[in-house]
């Protein structure tokens, strides 16, 4: 029934076929999946319900698309009217979402900068994506032709880019990577139509500006505060919520005394001007590289009896936070991992109650969570049906080692790093957190990969079929009952899971899809296929298909030189 209704809705918006208005991006995803998290809220919850707890056992692969140049795909594909847009570092593919067959391929000149890519944003007839050397590129959604291309950060100064951009009603918002290598982070906005620069928000103040006192008065140009994950957007308030990365050097804090604003924070920015409305810092004066780059999930829900505009984040530092997103006040903070040794809890004002002696030392200090965090960039999801927040938690600790070597400008210096004892390799646990209380409703402990170390990056997806989809460290994509955590289905992808799942609909069928390793997979409910049948084929001029003499020559040449390359 629901399917019919959504189909009808699709019919109503058909005149907009192939073009995405900004209003559509604000709706919870159905057939289309219009951004990194499916919509602007970051909930990663789909209203599609054809695949349900009762039938998910019949989920079977439909197609696999291999990306030859990929090593680890980290993108969430975007789907618009039956066309899937998938990215790898410096390349974009358009695929027929029903069959996985490619329609066009955009390949940017190879860059020596090595950064993953997490996908495209879409607005109108254009796609937006970032190159590893920090160009923001607008492509035509039908052809992949470049409409404009702006360089928004200097790759020669350790800036790089990996995030999927975010669109507001008329702007494209991007952030920068490189926070462990001596950059000063910022959020940048560009006019979607022309590529003209609109505003910039620096995540680290300049000397003399408000906030500089949190850096001992002298915030440096290598202070970090990268913005390497996609933020979220409240279209009603016209406010962006962007999370920020760690201060630098990562593990040595002596040269940056103070809280180090606005690192490891979430900032609320006016989408038109980039002006900061408020900020909330999760980890003041971080010395464990705990970027706050987990999706800030926007939820309108009842909290303690009254309807509130909320922002939820399961942070890398081990606490699950619930904020009032109108003013940034903390409503709740509860640990979501058991291995948490750096703080006793979070005080009512939002500051962690830090346990002394948990900073890295030259000899090494065992602290939990690990450097990878209690979770990381891979997406959580929230189901308004179950009021549960699903997050991939990591139970792990690291030996944190620091050194006093100060950072020079443009020098990649983390202030040393971490070591993970073999005896303490860590484990992924899928946890369902009750939004209003922060309590863990259920959990699924997951087996580790073959080397026993945390190395994959599996995210989650919640659907209206009362399902939660997630990956694990051993290379499986799986589904569980979103209400109870009962495992219902699994599929071995044969490679490391490095992305978050998503879902879309085309031709009356719901698909589950996930990029992983070097491939993207698509699944749907089994239905007996009709035997392939060929149409009557007519060639208006058959010799048009015989290779011309010239082509024959080129083929020969190709063979010759292929042989020489071996």
């Amino acid at each position: 029934m629901k399917w019919t209704v959504t189909s009808l809705m699709l019919f109503l918006i058909l005149p907009l076929y192939g073009s995405v208005s900004w209003l559509e991006v604000t709706k919870a995803p159905a057939e289309n999946w219009l951004g990194y998290s499916g919509d602007d809220s970051g909930q990663r919850f789909s209203t599609l319900s054809q695949i349900q707890t009762e039938n998910v056992g019949r989920l079977v692969p439909q197609w696999v698309f291999h990306v030859p140049d990929a090593t680890r795909l980290e993108a969430t594909p975007v789907v618009v009217d039956g066309v899937m847009y998938l990215t790898n570092s410096n390349e974009v593919f358009a695929l027929d979402a029903k069959t996985g067959r490619s329609l066009w391929h955009y390949q940017r000149a190879k860059s020596s900068t090595n950064a993953p890519n997490r996908g495209v944003a879409v607005l109108g007839d254009r796609l937006f994506f970032v190159s590893s050397d920090a160009h923001l590129v607008a492509l035509h959604i039908k052809s992949g032709a470049v409409l404009w291309d702006v360089r928004y950060a200097d790759a020669t100064k350790h800036y790089s880019a990996s995030l999927a951009p975010l669109v507001t009603r008329d702007k494209v918002i991007v952030g920068v990577s490189g926070g462990d290598c001596g950059i000063r982070g910022y959020v940048d906005a560009y006019d979607a139509e022309t590529g003209k620069h609109a505003w910039r928000f620096w995540t680290v103040p300049f000397p003399g500006q408000p906030g500089a006192e949190t850096w001992g008065g002298h915030p440096s140009d290598v202070a970090g505060g990268a913005t390497w994950m996609t933020g979220t957007y409240d279209p009603v308030e016209n406010v962006l919520y962007w999370s920020t990365g760690n201060p630098g050097p990562d593990f040595y804090g002596e040269e940056r005394p103070g809280d180090n604003l606005y690192t490891d924070s979430v900032v609320a920015l006016d989408a038109d001007t980039g002006k900061r409305r408020w900020h909330f810092q999760f980890t003041p004066h971080d010395t464990h590289d705990w970027d706050a780059q987990q999706i800030p999930v926007l939820v309108d829900a009842t909290f303690q009896g009254s309807p509130r505009k909320l922002l939820a984040q399961a942070n890398r530092n081990g606490f699950f936070y619930l904020l009032d997103r109108t003013d940034g006040k903390m409503l709740l903070a509860k640990p979501f991992v058991k291995k948490l040794t750096w703080a006793r809890g979070v005080l009512p004002d939002g500051r962690p109650d830090v346990i002394p002696g948990t900073n890295p030392t030259p000899e090494g200090k065992l602290v939990c969570p690990a450097n990878v965090g209690a979770t990381n960039w891979f997406s959580p999801s929230y189901s308004p049906q179950t009021h549960l927040f699903y997050v991939m938690a990591i139970e792990a600790c690291d030996l944190y080692i620091s050194s006093a070597r100060t950072s020079g400008k443009g020098e990649c210096n983390g202030g040393t790093g971490v070591d993970r004892p073999r005896s303490n390799t860590g484990q992924f646990v899928l946890r369902a957190i009750h939004l209003e209380s922060g309590t863990i409703q259920w959990e699924i402990p997951l087996a580790s990969g073959e080397d026993g170390y945390i190395s994959s990056m599996p995210g989650t997806l919640a659907t209206a079929g009362n399902l939660v989809f997630f990956g694990d460290d051993a290379g499986y994509l799986a589904a569980a009952d979103a209400r109870t955590g009962k495992l219902l289905w699994s599929f071995y992808t044969g490679q490391m899971i490095t992305a978050s799942p998503m879902t879309y609909g085309v031709g009356g069928r719901q698909y589950i899809s996930m990029a992983s390793g070097t491939d993207i997979f698509a699944f749907a409910l089994f239905h007996a296929a009709e035997p392939p049948r060929q149409p009557a084929i007519e060639e208006l001029n058959p010799e048009a298909f015989a290779p011309s003499k010239r082509q024959e020559h080129e083929m020969k040449t190709a063979k010759l030189f292929d042989a020489t390359n071996d």
Binding site: T99, K142, I537
Partner: protein, 379 residues
């Protein structure tokens, strides 16, 4: 976005050309040492003997000195195309003799080539390949001597103009264009086992000359001279000739034909010309034209974006996508002709259009990239 208006070259173009011509393997060293690139050009200027034009014989800093002293050229922005497009090898005897003296003077004054090579962290061998295999294509002398060698050794199989025959085609070939200079060099030197292409263990200078000549046979339109008014060609493209109803350049135009924003870097002038005059001769993949009839009788004409035994993906003439399983179709009719009509243009208009298209390349020169070493790591 700084699209190149005409055919004049500026400093950025020069760098771009060097990178284009130097091939992938050498690109990095040029990028890290842009100054060196300009020095190499200076080197060419005082070629004394046609067979001894190799820059590595000349100490780079002396080359710079000489170029400053004798050419008074420090600003590449004002460097006319004609001087760059061909080697600036001496045109007049008097100048030639001045260069000769200057060159000897410079060699005495400085420490010599090998020190210079080491100073740049290069072994002489690497430096050799960088110089000879890099911008050698611009060295008229190398090309000339390469041509003579080619005619005596290679043309029997590959044709006088590299057009192919018993041997493979070497002119205007995508495959050759994608090969690094060093690869071409090695193919000639060691041959291709299992084929009639035997090894030619020539002197390195000779091999370098051959490589220079072969590469010159594969210049793309951006590197070739054109005779036409690019600005007038642009007006035609977006106006009377109606090209932009199907083709896009720099974000302007239609969707049915291939995007031409980089066409000057992809094809030679000859191929662009052929593509306009005989559009059906060589239809790009993803632009094949078909007419399908669906099971319910709808007829859709469009371009085949992809096709397998089981499915077909079309873009119709309104640029909408249609995806079918083959079993959903009654008939599938393939056209021989491209959707593109042959334009009826006056000779001058055609030349102008060709000039405009030939200049379409990367709109913006991309600065060298620093290697960041945090790839693969979680930020």
């Amino acid at each position: 976005m700084g699209r190149r208006p005409g055919i004049s070259l500026n400093a950025q173009d020069l760098k771009f050309h060097l990178i284009q011509l130097s091939g992938r393997s050498e690109t990095k060293s040029y990028r890290s040492q842009p100054v060196y690139c300009t020095l190499l050009f200076s080197c060419q200027a005082f070629s004394l003997n046609e067979l001894e034009t190799k820059c590595y014989l000349i100490e780079p800093s002396s080359a710079l000195l000489v170029s400053v002293l004798f050419f008074n050229v420090t600003d590449f922005n004002n460097f006319p195309t004609s001087q760059l497009a061909v080697s600036r090898a001496p045109q007049r005897r008097t100048v030639r003799s001045i260069w000769a003296v200057a060159s000897i003077f410079a060699r005495l004054a400085f420490l010599g080539p090998f020190l210079a090579c080491f100073a740049h962290g290069q072994t002489p061998e690497k430096s050799y390949s960088r110089v000879v295999l890099g911008p050698a294509v611009r060295q008229k002398d190398a090309i000339q001597s390469g041509k003579l060698l080619f005619e005596s050794i290679c043309s029997a199989c590959h044709g006088v103009k590299g057009q192919g025959g018993r041997g493979s085609k070497l002119a205007d070939s995508e495959y050759i264009r994608q090969m690094r200079a060093k690869e071409i060099f090695n193919v000639i030197r060691t041959g291709v086992p299992g084929t009639e292409m035997i090894a030619f263990p020539l002197r390195k200078t000779q091999l370098g000359d051959l490589v220079a000549f072969v590469r010159s046979l594969n210049a793309v339109a951006l590197e070739q001279d054109v005779h036409g008014d690019s600005a007038a060609g642009e007006n035609l493209f977006f106006g009377k000739a109606n090209c932009s109803s199907c083709h896009m350049i720099a974000g302007r135009g239609g969707l049915l034909g291939p995007d031409l924003s980089n066409i000057g870097q992809e094809l030679s002038v000859e191929k662009i010309s052929a593509a306009i005059l005989q559009p059906s001769d060589d239809i790009e993949p993803r632009y094949r034209r078909v007419l399908v009839t669906t099971a319910d009788g709808r007829k859709i004409e469009g371009l085949v974006k992809n096709e397998s035994t089981y499915s077909i993906q079309l873009m119709d003439l309104n640029a909408n996508f249609h995806f079918f399983l083959k079993s959903e179709l009654q008939t599938l009719i393939s056209y021989k002709e491209s959707l593109m009509p042959v334009p009826h243009l006056a000779q001058q208009d055609f030349a102008n259009l060709l000039a405009f298209l030939s200049r379409q390349g990367p709109g913006e020169f991309r600065e060298p990239k620093a290697k960041t070493n945090h790839g693969g790591r979680i930020d």
